[in-house]
């Protein structure tokens, strides 16, 4: 019964699900391994999708044909567009999910996918022959063969949980870790390093004093993540705000020695943007309070996620901390916060396609590549799924550029610059932020998704229709003159350029608005016109950028003989093997002088 699968995916989290669905959709005979069927698509940390830059990623994954957008639209219970007070390039959708529903929905999506088989088993070993992956072996010593393996194990590789000074092996609270797979990777020449992350305590909403909490309402109507779907999100609950105070900080300072972080128990590297509350107090003692978002976990539970106080103190101290906070004086903890350490793979060992450099046919996605966050994981998942199938089809991998998407920025960053702490996306990481907006992710990526067979004809047609309407309206705005009662006449487009005017306001100037224009399209047209000057400048920058990106570097180039390049740069270039001058110039430690010298060298060798 030795079936040979096309692709085996190990891990059913946010990366693994996207990878498995993308591969199966594209026709690959795919097998997905999960440790527990019930935990497919589980949100290990906060019950939310999106936020700054992450919302951009989620919309891009949706436009490319991924599942995260539809899953959150169906299971979200509180939708908000963040940063509305800033300009439109940094507006970001975010939604609270009903945690249980989210994972049920994700399980349903993967189970309904054709070509996709799902199996509960713990993968313990990679089968590798002559530097090429051949399949995997489970804890039952069964072998499964495949041409490609995608690893997406999240925090499960030698996961170790810390609460207070107690520690135990676990992949997530109450779940097994994967102890042997790490060894199998190391045996095959893959180096591992250790990262750390953490979660806050979860509270019982019946024990909170809501009169002392500030309510944060969802946006009405909600802005969805998925493009051109008919999903009607539920949008019914509020979040609540409170903050820590001097009493909280005193408790933490007094107990620092009892924390797993500062007692020397934890050696993994944590992220600076997601510090535990004990970290925050130690590093910024002058700050008087830290904000806490109280987020409902779902419609059928009283559980509340206390976003802002991740901690790995002992249960006793966690109680003291929580009850020192305004509105939480009588709060009961339903689940304790904890820190978790896990193995990951330093990313100089993977190609920009996400395939391992040393083991052919092995792709890595998600936290194993040192990233953190569901959206970051899902982004790598879909790309790994696409590039794995491309490899089966003997096609070259797709590489989304920094000028085209946050997904492109993410992957270029991790493989070019390396990851020395858990990597989270920020809009500040994107040079071409004015172009990489959440509202135009469809224009940037849907044609690609359709070509790859991940976007259905039906959705693609809707996209094309919207594009046609947009073009029609822009033409109309340029040609029609506004009705301005005897004053100097302007074209409609000039009127729309004024900051205080939105699309619907044009009616007052005699513009007829057809009813085939959706609200999101009106907003998109208005902002493209208002910010046209900036967008054009950004596009010119992108042109210049592409010039260096298309200057390819031969893959077999031997840098070590190039004496005019600094030794440090030569070492780094040899390790990363950049595919273009553009990528080479982003490697830390490679200077302008090195790049000039490299260009001169390439010219002298290749003319």
């Amino acid at each position: 019964m030795n079936i040979i699968y096309d692709i085996i995916v190990v891990g059913g989290g946010h990366a693994g699900c996207e990878a498995a669905v993308a591969a199966a959709k594209r026709g690959a005979n795919t097998l997905l391994f999960v440790i527990k069927l019930e935990t497919i698509g589980r949100m290990s940390c906060n019950p939310a999708v999106g936020g700054l830059a992450k919302g951009h990623l989620a919309r891009e994954i949706d436009a490319l044909g991924g599942v995260i957008g539809q899953c959150i639209d169906k299971t979200g219970i509180h939708f908000r567009m963040l940063n509305k007070s800033k300009g439109p390039a940094v507006w970001a959708p975010r939604a609270q999910a009903d945690r249980m529903n989210y994972q049920l929905e994700m399980r349903s999506i993967v189970e309904h996918q054709n070509n996709l088989e799902i199996k509960e088993a713990l993968v313990e070993e990679l089968l590798i022959k002559n530097g090429e992956v051949k399949g995997v072996k489970t804890q039952y010593q069964q072998k499964y063969f495949s041409k490609i393996v995608i690893l997406a194990p999240g925090t499960f590789l030698r996961g170790k949980i810390h609460i207070g000074l107690k520690k135990y092996s676990s992949g997530r609270a109450g779940e097994f870790s994967s102890e042997k797979l790490s060894k199998s990777l190391q045996k095959n020449g893959i180096n591992l390093s250790r990262f750390k992350t953490g979660t806050p305590p979860r509270l019982d909403s019946r024990t909170l004093d809501f009169s002392k909490l500030e309510e944060q309402f969802p946006d009405k109507p909600p802005v969805k993540f998925s493009f051109y779907t008919n999903i009607k999100p539920k949008n019914s609950v509020s979040c609540f705000l409170t903050s820590t105070n001097s009493k909280t900080h005193k408790i933490i300072s007094k107990n620092l020695k009892k924390s797993s972080l500062f007692s020397g128990n934890i050696t993994g590297i944590g992220a600076r943007y997601c510090p535990s509350i004990e970290d925050k107090i130690k590093k910024f003692p002058e700050k008087e309070q830290h904000q806490i978002f109280l987020e409902p976990e779902g419609l059928n539970t009283f559980e509340i996620y206390a976003n802002g106080i991740p901690t790995s103190f002992s249960p006793k101290i966690q109680h003291k901390i929580v009850q020192s906070i305004s509105g939480l004086e009588k709060a009961k903890i339903m689940r304790y916060g904890y820190a978790i350490e896990y193995d990951c793979v330093p990313t100089e060992q993977i190609l920009i396609s996400l395939e391992a450099k040393k083991i052919k046919g092995l792709f890595l996605a998600g936290q194993i590549n040192g990233t953190s966050g569901y959206e970051e994981a899902a982004a790598q998942g879909i790309i790994a799924g696409i590039n794995a199938t491309n490899k089966l089809l003997k096609k070259s991998p797709i590489i989304l550029g920094r000028d085209n998407s946050y997904i492109g920025v993410l992957i270029d960053d991790i493989v070019t610059k390396g990851v020395d702490e858990p990597y989270r996306m920020f809009t500040a990481r994107a040079e071409y932020r004015l172009h990489l907006r959440q509202d135009n992710a469809d224009e940037r990526l849907m044609p690609r998704g359709y070509e790859l067979g991940l976007i259905s004809k039906k959705r693609y047609d809707k996209f094309c229709d919207a594009l046609k309407i947009k073009k029609r309206e822009i033409k109309k705005l340029k040609s029609e003159t506004a009705n301005s009662k005897g004053k100097k006449s302007h074209k409609m487009i000039e009127v729309l350029r004024r900051p205080e005017i939105n699309f619907d306001d044009l009616k007052k100037f005699g513009y007829k608005i057809k009813n085939d224009i959706s609200d999101s399209l009106k907003e998109k047209i208005a902002l493209e016109i208002k910010y046209e000057g900036y967008i054009k400048r950004q596009l010119r920058e992108i042109e210049k950028f592409n010039y260096l990106e298309t200057k390819e570097i031969p893959p077999d180039l031997d840098y070590m003989n190039f004496n005019s390049i600094s030794y440090e740069a030569r070492e780094k270039l040899s390790k990363i093997k950049p595919i273009s001058i553009g990528q080479a110039s982003r490697i830390p430690g490679v200077t302008y002088a090195d790049i000039s010298a490299l260009l001169i060298k390439l010219k002298s060798i290749y003319g």
Binding site: N83, F284, Q291, T427, N563
Partner: protein, 448 residues
């Protein structure tokens, strides 16, 4: 395979007779080439780095000179390659003879700036330093050398670095506000931001202004002689440069193109241009010359507008010369008997024939060069590439101010500031988005 592996040599002390001259050679074959003509107690192949040796420079058994040789072995040298410097007795003959022998034995003649280029390529200096050295090599006068030396010391670097730090601080605050807006941080105060931008703008403006001066000092002050046909422009040119390069006749329209000559006045490098007379002509070739004249005039720092004092003064063409700084020059005063008419002190009265008034004209030219307006000790932008970058930075900063006034969105201000940063980084090296993000984490407590 590697072009830069050739060994190069050149005389590195100024031409002319001095006490000692130095011939420098750089490259992997320096030692072996030297060993062919140096008689010395220690064999050249055993020379250690940073050592000096006394010996006799010989060719085909004949002693050429008694020399001292300084040795710097790779990578401990200016260029990063093996360098030998032969200190010989000054005098064109001996120095050139030694260079010729090195070339005969396998070295190649170095192009101007090539030692520095190698130093740059081997990571021995950064781009501003390399440019300053090249400026130093090319600088022909005393003032130019001052600029080049202060730049080499990194004054320009540190002034730009200071400006960049200020921009980086603002960018950090803005990025923090964008990416962590949900964390109850203080909102950006647009009024304060505008004030900070205004200060930075002033600093860049100062740099750009010094840029114009720096270029005058380094690339020369461009004086263009223009005016009506046959007013004696070429004769004045010749008097100024004191040689007979221009072809002088009394037929109108003899100078059909332009002629350029470098002179040194009180330590300043002056580039003097002689142009074709500006008159309407049916002669096609001459018209090409007139067009060229206009393009030269456009790049001038100063125009000498020449009239024939004996002719009817027409200044019809002058209106086309924009708002260039100019000196009016009345030529051929030798033909005028009544000298009392020379009363207008803003006009230079000269006779190119006798040389009368030429020194006064030179003094007027010097008085027009106003380089002491700015404090050179803060470092000076001294070439066109740097000026273009600083100007680009200034433009972006002005856009950022406009965006701030209009409150159109922080990410647009961030975009303009990033453009400004990138422009200034072109002069001194780059700042990455990671540095901004790191600075956010170092300075602010953020994250959920």
């Amino acid at each position: 395979m590697n072009k830069h592996n050739s060994t190069i040599a050149a005389i590195s002390t100024p031409a002319g007779i001095g006490g000692i001259s130095i011939v420098r050679m750089s490259g992997s074959k320096s030692i072996s080439i030297l060993s062919k003509s140096l008689k010395c107690k220690t064999l050249p192949k055993n020379f250690r780095t940073n050592s000096i040796h006394h010996g006799k420079f010989v060719d085909s058994g004949k002693i050429i000179d008694d020399v001292m040789v300084s040795v710097f072995i790779s990578p401990n040298s200016y260029t990063g390659e093996d360098i030998v410097e032969i200190n010989c007795h000054g005098g064109n003959f001996v120095t050139h003879r030694i260079l010729q022998i090195l070339l005969k034995n396998g070295a190649q003649i170095a192009k101007p700036g090539e030692f520095t280029k190698r130093a740059f390529l081997n990571g021995k200096m950064d781009l501003t330093e390399a440019e300053a050295v090249i400026d130093l090599i090319h600088s022909k006068t005393k003032h130019s050398q001052e600029v080049a030396i202060s730049q080499l010391e990194g004054k320009l670097y540190s002034s730009i670095k200071k400006i960049l730090n200020k921009i980086t601080t603002l960018r950090t605050e803005i990025e923090l506000n964008i990416d962590f807006s949900e964390q109850g941080l203080e909102k950006i105060n647009f009024k304060e931001l505008l004030e900070k931008l205004r200060i930075i703008k002033k600093e860049i403006e100062l740099l750009v202004n010094t840029g114009n001066e720096g270029i005058i000092l380094n690339e020369g002050y461009r004086v263009v002689i223009a005016g009506e046909s046959n007013a004696g422009k070429s004769s004045i040119f010749n008097k100024l440069v004191e040689n007979e390069r221009s072809i002088v006749t009394d037929i109108p329209g003899t100078t059909r193109d332009y002629i350029e000559e470098d002179i040194s006045l009180q330590g300043y490098l002056i580039k003097v241009f002689d142009t074709a007379g500006l008159r309407k002509s049916n002669n096609k070739i001459e018209n090409v010359g007139i067009e060229k004249s206009f393009s030269i005039i456009n790049k001038a720092h100063l125009l000498l507008w020449v009239h024939d004092i004996t002719a009817n003064i027409k200044s019809s063409m002058k209106s086309q010369l924009n708002d260039k700084d100019f000196i009016e020059v009345f030529n051929k005063i030798d033909l005028v008997k009544n000298k009392t008419i020379y009363k207008n002190s803003s006009i230079a009265y000269v006779s190119a024939l006798t040389g009368e008034g030429i020194d006064k004209l030179k003094a007027k030219i010097i008085s027009k060069i106003d380089v002491n307006k700015y404090d050179i000790s803060n470092g000076l932008i001294s070439n066109s590439r740097q000026l273009a970058a600083a100007t680009k930075g200034l433009k972006a900063l002005k856009k950022a101010m406009k965006a701030t006034q209009e409150k159109i969105g922080l990410e647009f201000i961030a975009f303009d500031l990033r453009t400004a940063s990138k422009a200034l980084e072109e002069i001194i090296g780059k700042i990455t988005s990671d540095e901004i993000i790191n600075s956010i984490f170092d300075k602010f407590c953020v994250g959920k």
